[in-house]
């Protein structure tokens, strides 16, 4: 369990990092928290010739509120989000999602940007980004900065819209006012494991009626799955427990999950049915 030989570069500015990447984009990998990349290198499943470590670059961690959005810079550690004091439903969602990412040591190193770039279908951050239609900003030396909508970002398992010469620099999420309820419910065999199925949901209720509904599910496909069926079941309807049950049923019918040693398709559907209400605070 030792990686194959690689070169290691630790630039102190984003320009330098982008230049290193531009020099040999296909054989260079960005090293952020290392919590996914390093195990893959140790198993020799990834054999990059060069690592460009972004941990010495100033100014690329932390969050800011800009107008009605929260900007999360790429190297923000999971733990920082678990401890965020951001008020309202978004703060609640971020704290609860972060707490479900691995174990404490992993959360002290792993990063928000790294999770999105890595694109594991069960990742809590990929689900949150998908749920809230995040805007994802990436930079390259050749083409400068661009913003990618979450819906276009997650392509397939471990594959995103990022080009090999790009670095993901920040992500923005809409601040949710108090008319929203947002949450996450995850099923894993052991504490700290990747969820077998994870449900995230955000619902806006005005005068007892659902005005906006978003549901994104993990563990049911190669990338986070936005359940159109569940969302449209809820939109415009009276906010009741029965409605949530119906939405969960609709989502369970809509998904086409894979089967593996952790759970077959039928079971994953059962989990969707059980978890979606829990994400919205109903057991």
């Amino acid at each position: 369990m030792k990686p194959s030989p690689f070169e290691y570069v630790a630039p102190t500015s984003m320009e330098e990092a982008l230049a290193v990447l531009a020099g040999d984009p296909d054989e260079t990998k960005v090293l952020a928290g290392g919590q996914s990349l390093v195990p893959m290198m140790n198993f020799r499943l990834a054999r990059p010739e060069r690592l460009v470590d972004i941990n010495r670059i100033p100014g690329i961690a932390g969050t800011d509120v800009v107008a009605d959005r929260l900007v999360i810079r790429t190297r923000t550690r999971h733990l920082a989000l678990q401890n965020t004091s951001l008020p309202g439903p978004l703060g609640h969602l971020l704290r609860h999602a972060a707490a479900k990412v691995g174990h404490l040591p992993i959360r002290t190193r792993g990063t928000f940007g790294g999770s999105l770039a890595h694109c594991d279908a069960a990742s809590e951050w990929c689900l949150v980004a998908s749920l809230l239609d995040a805007d994802i900003t990436a930079e390259s030396q050749a083409r400068g900065s661009r913003t990618i909508a979450a819906a276009d970002f997650f392509r397939s398992i471990f594959t995103t819209a990022l080009e090999p010469d790009e670095i993901l620099t920040s992500v923005s999420l809409p601040l949710l006012d108090d008319s929203w309820t947002a949450g996450i419910a995850e099923f894993a065999r052991r504490a700290g494991d990747f969820g077998i199925v994870t449900a995230t949901a955000a619902v806006q209720v005005v005068d007892g009626t659902v005005t906006e509904a978003r549901v994104s599910l993990g563990g049911v496909g190669e990338v986070p799955f936005r359940s159109v069926a569940a969302e449209s079941t809820m939109r415009g309807e009276a906010w009741t427990t029965d409605l949530i049950t119906a939405a969960a049923q609709a989502a369970a019918e809509e998904v086409d999950p894979p089967s593996d040693i952790h759970g077959d398709a039928a079971y994953r559907r059962d989990l969707v049915r059980a978890l979606l209400p829990r994400a919205l605070g109903r057991p």
Binding site: S4, R44, R190, D193, I261, Y267, D270, L275
Partner: protein, 782 residues
């Protein structure tokens, strides 16, 4: 001192990070070994080409089977049977590979990184063959005549062998007649037949420290030094010496600290032989440290048994008149050092705490293209207890009797002890040395208020929760002989050293042995130096396995310390001009009873015993004595496990809310360590009952090769274990009255949890296999 909650003398070193584990041995110029392993479950080796690996700078050697063709297959340490010999494992694969992970070639390089780079360059041309994975299926051809003859090494030709390595029957009474008589009696009469089909999945001990070994041939001392051994250093010395063509006294095997044993760690594996042979051939220090993926695919697997049982029971009270059982054990691809140990223990311990006048079990050990299997904490008992206790639950449920009541009906009674079953266990007569099973059941039920737990279950059920309570009863075995020895030495400064042939896998044996000596000499235990696990410091040691050391080494240490006290008293009697009977040991001195001012410290006595003085005293020089303990029988501790569980209706997630253990160890030398053993054992038992399983794809590719897929439970999944350790049945067959505590935390975990889950689901006989998966529970609840 004996019976005290004494602090572990091992801990100050370990807690400061000063321990020396296998990888901590670093020698100048050492070479790192990396094993190239089969990527396929079964295939014919066409070529193995190491030439590209040898071209890499820093690579010193690379071998295939041809390079070590003279090495025989690896031998059996325990329970050898001739019919198993053709299934022994070669050090490197020979003609055919039989499991994913089987060593095919090996490289030696200047760093662990280079060694892995080089291993990548070894080219394997293996023609895949279809893998055989089902140990329930009829046997298939396994080794051809050539391989069988070679592997057996008997010097005579053997025919080809099929995948059933052995089948044997263990029995007493007359099962056939008992069943026939019941049928003859006819009608819906007094007896009924109850059947059980039970499976325990493939899992094993996963110590924190993976395997590892460092060896160097010391030219100056003419000695092959092997560091990092565990569990059975003396046996491994003999085996390594034989493999290297050295006499045993030219091999020194040293145990370093060991990060957990549990059965698999410390056995002699192909890698151990390669390290030792390479140290001899290459005349360089050789180091091999296993990584976790290797560990999960190549270190002994265990369990994986399928039991089928028929019991003839009396309808009136659930008395089991006869038990007719068979089981198949999935041995994996080779038979390793444990020979038929697991099958044999499964068979002989199957009746457990019950009388069962007529008993027969047919054991079948079958080969498959999986990682070879061996022992794991409570081998054979975990599996057999699960099957038997499931059966007893079913008997109770079918007859409408209480689960506790049926057990009471069948228990061997206290007044029947010692109770001899006319069968053998590990080559000894199976004699339950002492025990009061009904008393333990009563005590545990009262202490933990089983009636109250039941009432709570009913209450919560009424509130819609899926909760249940269940238990299992078991008999363990411990203290296998034949012999263990110890030497107690006091120097002129009065400092005490205990030297022995014991081994430590982290269980705290140093502490317990020190306590035993401290008790005799009336001194503190923490100043005693314990030397063990080094083949040049003591003549003999059978090792740390089968929960044997507290009994065996403990008794030997007690005898050695007793002998030392006698010798010290003889000298003191001479010096103080009193009789030996007037003397006693007090605080490390020999004192005259009633006149404490007349005393000689042990250090002073050691001074008197310096060679010249000893001659005058007509004593052997030095205050040092040996003690030995021999036994032909094992001791049989026993216990009860109970679980309170809740199942999440939506997800099927199983929550073990409470886990209760009652265990009688005869005498707890150190209750804290007994409790530690139990708690750790329970955690591993829960692993096998709920989380851990080595699974395989249809082509024989293992699918659980990392901790993401092989789910070892963590602190979050294990409840605080509630315990009642009793001393109601001291063993009459050793001086301390002790029975071992190492395995009883594990034995009945699967049985208890399955029973509780049945109860939670309110479906009798719902759980017939472990691990219990949430998807399965969810389906049962739907």
């Amino acid at each position: 001192m004996i019976g005290a909650r004494a602090l572990r003398i091992e801990d100050p070193v370990l807690l400061r990070g000063n321990g020396r584990f296998a990888a901590d041995t670093v020698r100048a110029g050492e070479l790192h070994m990396r094993v190239v392993r089969s990527p396929v479950a079964r295939g014919r080796i066409v070529t193995v080409d190491v030439s590209r690996a040898l071209l890499l700078d820093g690579v010193v050697a690379a071998w295939t089977h041809d390079d070590i063709a003279e090495l025989p297959a690896i031998g059996f340490r325990l329970t050898p049977r001739d019919d198993l010999l053709p299934y022994r494992q070669p050090v490197l694969a020979r003609n055919e590979v039989r499991y994913v992970g089987e060593p095919v070639a090996v490289v030696f390089a200047r760093s662990a990184y280079l060694a892995e780079d080089a291993a990548d360059l070894v080219e394997l041309d293996i023609e895949p063959l279809s893998a055989h994975l089902d140990s329930d299926a009829d046997p298939v051809p396994w080794v051809d005549a050539e391989q069988a003859t070679w592997a057996a090494g008997l010097g005579r030709d053997l025919p080809a062998q099929d995948s059933e390595a052995t089948e044997f029957t263990t029995e007493y009474g007359d099962v056939e007649r008992a069943f026939a008589k019941a049928v003859a009696a006819g009608g819906p009469g007094t007896h009924r037949i109850v059947e059980m089909d039970a499976r325990v999945g493939r899992h094993s001990g996963v110590p924190m420290e993976c395997r590892g070994l460092c060896a160097v041939y010391d030219e100056a001392e003419q000695l092959l030094v092997v560091d990092g051994a565990a569990k059975v250093p003396f046996w491994n010395r003999e085996a390594v010496a034989a493999m290297c063509g050295l006499p045993p006294h030219r091999v020194l095997v040293r145990e370093t600290h060991v990060g957990g044993g549990f059965g698999p760690r410390g056995e002699l594996y192909p890698e151990d032989v390669l390290v030792a042979v390479a140290a001899m051939r290459l005349r360089k220090p050789i180091k091999w440290i296993e990584d976790r993926q290797e560990h999960l695919t190549t270190t002994n697997h265990s369990r994986d048994q399928h039991h089928r049982m028929r019991a003839l029971v009396r309808v009136e009270d659930g008395w089991i008149e006869a038990l007719d059982a068979t089981f198949a054990l999935d041995q994996g691809a080779y038979v390793r050092t444990h020979g038929a140990t697991v099958a044999s223990l499964t068979a002989s311990m199957l009746p457990g705490p019950y009388v069962i006048p007529h008993f027969r079990v047919v054991a079948r050990v079958r080969l498959t293209n999986k990682t070879p299997a061996g022992t794991y904490r409570s081998p054979g008992r975990y599996e057999g207890t699960f099957a038997r206790e499931r059966l007893v639950d079913k008997i109770a449920d079918e007859l409408g009797l209480g689960r506790a009541e049926v057990r009471r009906t069948n228990f061997i009674r206290a007044d029947q002890m010692p109770y001899e079953r006319p069968i053998q266990a590990m080559g000894t007569h199976l004699v339950h040395d002492s025990g009061d099973y009904a008393l333990l059941l009563d005590k545990v039920s009262e202490t933990f208020d089983f009636a109250g737990i039941r009432a709570e279950v009913e209450r919560r059920r009424a509130g819609g929760e899926v909760v249940g309570f269940g238990f299992g009863f078991f008999v363990e075995k411990s203290g296998i002989g034949p012999v263990e020895g110890a030497r107690v030495t006091v120097d002129v400064a009065g400092q005490v050293t205990l030297t022995c042939g014991a081994s430590s896998v982290g269980q705290g044996v140093d502490t317990v042995l020190a306590q035993v000596v401290a008790e005799q000499l009336d001194i503190g235990h923490d100043s005693i130096r314990v030397v063990r696990g080094r083949t040049d410091q003591f003549e003999y040691g059978r090792g740390a396995f089968a929960t044997r050391l507290a009994v065996m080494a403990g008794s030997a240490a007690a005898n050695a310390a007793e002998n030392l006290a006698q010798k010290a008293k003889r000298v003191a009697a001479h010096q103080l001009k009193v009789s030996v009977e007037e003397l006693e040991l007090r605080g490390g001195s020999v004192v005259v009873v009633g006149r404490p001012e007349e005393a000689l410290a042990l250090g002073e006595i050691a001074g008197l015993l310096e060679p010249i003085g000893a001659g005058r005293l007509k004593e052997e020089p030095g205050l040092s004595t040996d003690g030995w303990f021999r036994t032909d029988h094992m001791t049989y501790p026993y216990g009860l496990h109970a679980a309170l569980v809740r199942v999440d209706r939506g997800t099927g997630q199983l929550h073990i809310e409470r886990f209760i253990v009652g265990y009688d160890v005869g005498r707890a030398l150190n209750p804290t360590l007994v409790e530690g053993q139990i708690a750790g054992g329970v955690a591993q038992g829960i692993g096998g009952a709920v989380y851990e399983e080595f699974r395989y794809a249809d082509d024989g590719t293992p699918t659980c090769t990392t901790f993401m897929d092989y789910l070892v439970p963590t602190l979050h999944e294990i409840p605080d274990v509630e315990m009642l350790v009793t001393e109601d049945a001291p063993s009459p067959i050793n001086p301390l009255g002790v029975k071992g505590a190492g395995e009883g935390g594990t034995t009945a975990v699967a049985a208890a949890i399955a029973s509780a889950v049945d109860d939670a689901l309110r479906i009798p006989d719902a759980i017939r296999s472990v691990p219990i998966r949430p998807a399965h529970l969810r389906r049962l609840l739907a």
